[in-house]
Symmetry: C2
């Protein structure tokens, strides 16, 4: 790893500190280096707050003059909630800028780079670009597709069951796999489940560390059946719960839920009267959720995959056989010739289980 | 790799040449080395034929005196179909012997080693033992368990189906996976299927190279339903087909099959009248089959795994989703608490598919 990569890694690590607080804006970290020493650091701490570059420049003070800036995302060129960073960089006298990736925001999209170059600053684009894109994949995806990045998690037996015939699914996969899942929760803006899972498990869907970032908990509840005693609408984090529903008839229940701090999102029904998932995803993106970790059961998984609303698949295959049980997907039936095509990208052992990662082809 | 490993590898490669012709005896290769030069080579070419050491010693002639012998299996100490090799080694004046593994045959089992040592020969045991055991796992297993080593192959979709609802399974997995399977066929003494697969696919179950070793093709056909026009009982290799059946009533059919060269094996029925699988496996071992590659469908796979008759699992997971289809196993239904426990040992990408290898826990 050369020194430029080292400092960009530092910028990426700083950016990560903003996880969960910057959406729908990106996570950004900035490091100012002069004479091989870090003279300023900053990161985008929360949505609407000062940008990373501002903090780094302020910390560096006079040392910013002639320094090198490392930032994982192109500095902005537009007046938004804060003045454009590109101008701040020029005014501070910074001489060289290393950028992880171009800002896909059409208001920026290389304009920031051009501003810097026009001012005589040497600009390098694409340093650790893969890492930069991975970090802000939700932000990028939301810009490009107008819906959140959706990771579909499934844990099944060797013979493809997510639960036994009685519906018991705790636990198909091992504690190692479950720890991985807990960690994934903090890598997404929201966790999503359907009412099948809510009724069966009354899940909390919280990360291990409850003092840090708490992702939104999205519940797909078409006719608003969720009992108010369940965790997701009664625990201390209930203001991080978003109930997606098609009904606005249950006025009393809606009022009570909103009163307790739960968020209600009304979305149109599809032709069957169920939640129109593409529309729901669009509204969740507008709400500020750029990435979703789906931990639902057969119904939610089946709907998402059938409707092409999956960007990453995490399939845990446990070393168990049930012979019969609840299938991984419900709601569709394909012939081999018309099968939904996936693409495996990576596979690994995770404790006693296998984790296959892939996506829709 | 040191020089000793190199020569033992050469012995293993020679042993491999006997594949398919030595069962139920082991595959054995022998290399004689003197002054860092190979002076003699031999391998066990066929059941009942001369042992590997004999060929190597004959080839070396006078040079065998003072040479080092590399052999993947302990030289025999008993008069069998041929005189004991240990005596031949002693008489040839060989000074040092490297052995891959001890012969599990209770008639040998370290007696060969002791004979050599008593004659003043330096003996090293366990050089490349893992490779030696892998090569002869069928032979070892048959000795220890009195039934063949059984490798269970399954190819399923991401959601655990081996065929779509119409029964179509060609092809769930890719050509890369199918090539792997074709290659596995020559690594086992026999391929096994049930009548479901025979009726559906009319398979040939042949390896790519039809001039080399042709494994036995075992068909589980309880009431002898196999139509005589199907490949397994009519192609040029029909004398390599073994029909395992519980019935001896269909005299005419049995006579006709035997007359055409097909082998018929009568086994008792179990309490349901189906083939008693443990007994069938015992009889197949006595017949000389030390390893089986099961390519059957849900019925055969379900019966084998439920009855603990599986030594290796090869589970191909294809990047496809069907939503509904034919399940991987049939014939049992377990709760999560009583699930059949497996153990994954290794996982890899194989073309577009994932191959998980494991065993019963």
């Amino acid at each position: 790893m050369d020194k430029h990569q080292k400092w960009m890694h530092q910028a990426l690590a700083l950016a990560e500190k903003g996880r969960g607080n910057t959406s729908p804006n990106p996570m950004v970290g900035a490091v100012l280096v002069k004479d091989s020493k870090v003279v300023g650091e900053g990161f985008h701490q929360k949505f609407g707050g000062p940008h990373a570059e501002v903090g780094a420049i302020a910390q560096a003070g006079e040392s910013a003059k002639g320094a090198m800036l490392y930032v994982n995302l192109e500095p902005c060129s537009h007046e938004g909630k804060t003045p454009p960073c590109a101008l701040k960089i020029i005014n501070a006298g910074i001489s060289e800028v290393f950028i992880g990736m171009i800002d896909p925001n059409p208001q920026v999209n290389s304009r920031g780079i051009r501003l810097l170059q026009d001012a005589g600053i040497t600009v390098h684009v694409g340093l650790l670009e893969d890492e930069a894109r991975q970090l802000n994949r939700g932000f990028i995806h939301t810009f490009e597709k107008k819906r959140p990045w959706i990771t579909l998690k499934m844990a099944q037996t060797a013979d493809g069951y997510i639960a036994d015939v009685s519906g018991k699914s705790q636990w198909i996969s091992s504690s190692v796999a479950r720890e991985f899942v807990m960690n994934q929760r903090t890598q997404h803006d929201a966790i999503m489940v359907g009412m099948g899972t809510v009724f069966k498990d009354d899940p909390g869907l919280l990360p291990v560390n409850r003092d840090g970032f708490i992702p939104y908990r999205v519940v797909l509840d078409d006719i608003l059946r969720i009992p108010s005693r369940l965790r997701l609408v009664s625990d201390e984090f209930r203001n991080r719960t978003v109930i997606v529903t098609t009904t606005d008839e249950k006025k009393q229940k809606i009022k009570q839920l909103i009163g307790s701090g739960v968020q209600i999102m009304h979305v149109p029904g599809d032709s069957f009267g169920w939640i129109d998932l593409p529309k729901a995803m669009g509204q969740l993106a507008e709400f500020g959720i750029t990435s979703i970790y789906s931990e639902g059961g057969s119904q939610v998984a089946g709907s998402l995959i059938q409707q092409g609303l999956v960007d990453e698949i995490q399939l845990f295959v446990a070393p168990k056989a049930l012979g019969e049980g609840i299938s991984t997907f419900s709601g569709f039936m394909k012939s081999l010739d018309s099968a939904i095509q996936l693409e495996w990208e990576d596979v690994q052992m995770l404790g006693p289980d296998v984790l296959i990662r892939g996506r829709l082809a």
